[in-house]
């Protein structure tokens, strides 16, 4: 199945990063020969954002690079250019299609060279006449003059107009956006399009409904194409701090005011790396009120939802809503660009799970309605646990995120620590019979597999920890209990290895494991002897296929832990 994730704005891009991380960790979207996997599906990521170099885009790029490396380590000989592919996880097109809503067809080179709202709305391509006279009743001069290449400052009234022009331009395959999407390649191909953006932001709030409407209308016109369009809307789940100073109540700033403020605040982090001219521009922008206002987010989200109800909902097959009862508070104010590098939020992971549910075609049971799942009443959204994450369904199997994390972590331990890689394969005991047959007489393959599986396991460990670690530089919204519980499975420290090994040991005169490998409310009981027998039947398997089989078997063994009294 082909999947397209359309990340709209900064929040959407962070969710794309979370999605790539979850796929790397092993979250499945389908069943193949009874094995839960995402391998065999493909994913393209489109990024709809005027801010090309945002911190979120940089983080997404890093996550994709890690994913590509992981897939490279796990695949066999065949590897398509630009396609991160193995049988471990979904094939990912590593080239993120950047859809810049400010890149519109030009009649002359000077068109839209400075990215201002007035310029964009007055784009005159394809015989369109000047629209400036019609803009005056709707926009103030300062709105038309503001530079919008770093986003729409959480002002949908700016974003919606720009996005509408952009969506129109997509109909032309030769426009910059049309070329990037290349939608003709999706005709007659079953595809899941999933959009994600915030309800309260500028880019997300305006981009998701307009792109959804565009794709939804194409789908309606061509029902045989088997397209599905879904979206996840993020309600305010984190709030930025106030800018270093407030906006003017009325009027325009004087040159003296700007100079004074540059002198006072020019050394603050928000102005880091800017030239004096850029600092003056930023001061002017803030004074004119072009920045995200935390107090207005909730109201904007409410308006956004009302808009969906009245105008957009029919274009989507499924709509998901993710948010937090109490938004997390960000510490650093930023005007976008690379400095806007927010840690991965647990709400973004929730939204990514929505995308996985959609890609798995699980549906919400009732095509006539959309479901808004609610969290448990005792959820502390500042300190979430994996058990608080919503599950989803693949085929008939319910996927519990906590168990997925546990299965991957245990797999990491078993593959790297419980196979006697250092001895000749012909000396493998009978429990590793299948692997012995594969490696006997082919020690080079064994050595290569060990080296690459170890490197892949390290990458998996890094991905898991950087997704859950409550270090504020990395993530926000996690309790930290899960990351500390999962660490021993991923660690090379001899104490941790010994502890886990003891639990996977077989009881004397019994086939049962001595202990349970647990995480939160989930646990797995497995001996290394059982693990040793898990191997693909054919000798021609990729490392990814091998890991996927191990992971699947572990996941099917994972169960809810019985709570002992007084012990959590």
């Amino acid at each position: 199945m082909r999947n397209v994730f359309i990340a709209v704005g900064g929040s959407g891009t962070k969710v794309a990063e979370a999605l790539v991380r979850l796929l790397a960790i092993g979250f499945p979207t389908r069943q193949e020969n009874g094995i839960l996997t995402s391998g065999g599906d493909s994913l393209q990521i489109w990024r709809l954002d005027p801010d090309r170099n945002s911190g979120a885009a940089v983080s997404l790029g890093k996550a994709i690079k890690d994913y590509e490396e992981l897939q490279g380590l796990l695949n066999g000989a065949s590897r398509g250019a630009g396609l991160a592919s193995s049988r471990w996880a979904m094939d990912l097109d590593t080239h993120v299609r950047h859809l810049d809503p400010l890149q519109l067809p030009r009649t002359v080179d000077s068109d839209n060279s400075v990215k201002k709202l007035g310029g964009i709305l007055d784009s005159r391509y394809g015989g369109i006449k000047s629209s400036l006279p019609f803009l005056a009743p709707f926009y103030e001069q300062k709105d038309l003059e503001v530079e919008i290449d770093r986003g729409f400052y959480q002002k949908p009234f700016i974003g919606a107009a720009v996005m509408a022009v952009f969506a129109e331009s997509l109909r032309d395959e030769n426009s910059p956006g049309g070329k990037a999407c290349s939608l003709t390649g999706f005709q007659n191909v079953s595809t899941n399009f999933f959009l994600c953006g915030s309800l309260h932001g500028g880019t997300g709030a305006s981009g998701v409904p307009i792109m959804g409407k565009y794709l939804g209308s194409l789908k309606r016109q061509n029902q045989s194409w088997d397209w599905r369009v879904g979206a996840c809307l993020l309600t305010p789940y984190c709030v930025p701090p106030q800018p270093p100073f407030g906006a003017l109540r009325e009027g325009s700033p004087t040159s003296q005011q700007i100079d004074d403020l540059v002198k006072t605040h020019g050394d603050k982090p928000a102005f880091a790396g800017l030239t004096i001219e850029d600092k003056r521009k930023l001061v002017e922008q803030i004074l004119l009120g072009f920045f995200a206002e935390p107090e207005a987010m909730e109201a904007r989200a409410r308006q956004g939802l009302a808009y969906y109800r009245d105008h957009s909902v029919d274009y989507f097959d499924e709509l998901y809503l993710a948010g937090k009862p109490e938004p997390d508070k960000l510490k650093v104010w930023s005007n976008g660009g690379e400095s806007q590098s927010n840690p991965l939020n647990s709400a973004e992971v929730v939204a990514a799970l929505g995308a996985l549910n959609f890609f798995a075609r699980a549906g919400t049971n009732n095509p006539e309605s959309y479901v808004i799942p609610t969290s448990t009443p005792d959820l502390n959204s500042e300190k979430m646990r994996l058990r608080d994450l919503p599950g989803y369904v693949v085929g008939q199997t319910e996927i519990d995120p906590e168990r997925v994390f546990l299965a991957t972590a245990v797999m990491h331990h078993l593959v790297t620590k419980q196979i006697p890689w250092e001895i000749a394969a012909k000396g493998f005991p009978k429990e590793l019979d299948q692997l012995r047959k594969v490696y006997e007489g082919n020690e080079e393959r064994k050595l290569e597999d060990f080296t690459r599986l170890s490197a892949a396991a390290s990458l998996l460990a890094k991905t898991i920890m950087t997704t859950l670690d409550p270090n504020p530089q990395l993530t926000i919204g996690w309790s930290g209990e899960d990351s500390s519980r999962i660490w021993p499975y991923l660690s090379n420290d001899s104490g941790s290895v010994k502890e886990v090994t003891a639990k996977t040991a077989r009881k004397f005169f019994s086939k049962e494991a001595r202990g349970e490998l647990d995480l939160g409310e989930s646990s797995i009981r497995v001996t290394t002897f059982e693990f040793g027998e898990w191997c693909p039947k054919s000798a021609e398997f990729t490392r990814g296929e091998y890991l996927r089989l191990i992971w699947h078997n572990l996941l099917t063994r994972a169960h809810k832990r019985l709570r002992q009294e007084g012990v959590q």
């Binding site: 006697p420 493998f428 590793l432 001595r514 290394t528």
Partner: protein, 133 residues
């Protein structure tokens, strides 16, 4: 054939320091038989030890024996052969008197060789042959 060789006087004489009295061939034969029995017993003990270790292994890594580990086990088995033969040699007057120190050393080397052959053969006849070849 082997039994014939073991009983040949020339061969038995190798294990005697002095053969001035009548019946020294019998002492030599007893000493050779002792060396053979010790080699068989120790090699069996070594094989049983390995089987028990494998049987009681609580995980795959413990159950898997590298060639190096097996060689170390073989070498370790040389010690009980030595100790057993020294004790027997010292405690049996005829061995002490006729076999002598030179015969003791030759007996030990002979027993070691047999022990290694038996232990190795034991591995060859078991599924563990892959661990040493």
């Amino acid at each position: 054939m082997l039994a014939f060789l073991l009983q040949s006087f020339d061969f038995l004489q190798l294990f005697l320091d002095s053969c001035d009295d009548e019946g020294c061939e019998d002492t030599a034969l007893n000493w050779v038989i002792t060396a053979v029995v010790v080699a068989i017993v120790v090699s069996l003990l070594v094989l049983v030890f390995k089987w028990v270790k494998k049987y009681l292994a609580i995980n795959i890594v413990q159950k898997a024996w590298s060639r190096g580990q097996t060689v170390v086990l073989f070498i370790t088995g040389l010690l009980p052969v030595l100790v057993a033969l020294v004790i027997i040699w010292y405690s049996v007057r005829n061995f002490f008197n006729y076999v002598g120190f030179g015969g003791l050393l030759k007996g030990i080397v002979f027993s070691w060789l047999l022990y290694v052959v038996f232990a190795f053969t034991g591995h060859l006849l078991s599924p563990w042959r892959r661990e040493i070849l």
